[in-house]
């Protein structure tokens, strides 16, 4: 479990995901600022239009992978007993995977 996404690969994933998350967040912020006050119809139309839906799915995937690398580091730093550490990492992985499934389901059915 602790070997999932380590070393140079984790470093690369952390940085690539960070850049995309920041890019997508700023894009959304600009869209909200330009169109404000945003109505439900506008918001729904934007999220479900063309490339926005897959781009938002990629945003959540990148965000959750980024959170995995960061929170995994935090757990490895502070949780030393092996069993508790394995349990915490497992719970974290399950939780993040569940959040990803939830976000995907929201965007698919929107």
């Amino acid at each position: 479990m602790t070997a999932v996404l380590t070393g140079l690969r984790a470093w690369t994933v952390q940085r690539v995901s960070a850049v995309y998350v920041l890019f997508f967040f700023l894009t959304t912020l600009v869209w909200l600022a330009v169109h404000r006050p945003v109505s439900y119809a506008q918001w729904h139309a934007w999220v479900t239009s063309g490339g926005v839906r897959p781009a938002m799915m990629l945003f959540f995937a990148a965000l959750l992978v980024h959170a995995w690398v960061g929170l995994r580091d935090v757990l490895l730093d502070y949780v030393k007993p092996l069993l508790i550490r394995a349990a915490a990492l497992g719970a974290l992985a399950l939780g993040l995977a569940g959040l990803g499934g939830w976000a995907a389901q929201i965007l698919i059915s929107a």
């Binding site: 920041l22 967040f25 439900y40 918001w43 959540f60 960061g70 929170l71 959040l99 939830w102």
Partner: protein
Amino acid sequence: MTTRSGAPYFLDLFQIRFPVGAVCSIAHRISGVILAVSVPLLIFALHRSLAGPEGYATVVTTLATVAGKAALVLLAWALGHHALAGVRHILKDMDVGASLGSARRTAWLALAGGGIIALVAAVLVL
């Protein structure tokens, strides 16, 4: 106190003077944890906002409450500091600002930038 090898160590957190890089670094971690904890709320807000006009209105009015505004300002600080400290890391990976002097300056910049972003957010939501 000394370590087994004889080197002195001193870990009184209330007396240690942290260098600015250490403050920037621990703030990067704290802001990251705050942002991670807020992800389920973000997804829930996405769910409600796309569920229909009533759900969308609920999200908007919830964010307009005192608690909602306070949460937005906290998240603005967390995101602002985390992003600036992250950009600082990526630039240091590329050897930009990696010397001790400039690393101290960019640590101050990231800390100040996070505060400024939080202030701007506070002005915007109030």
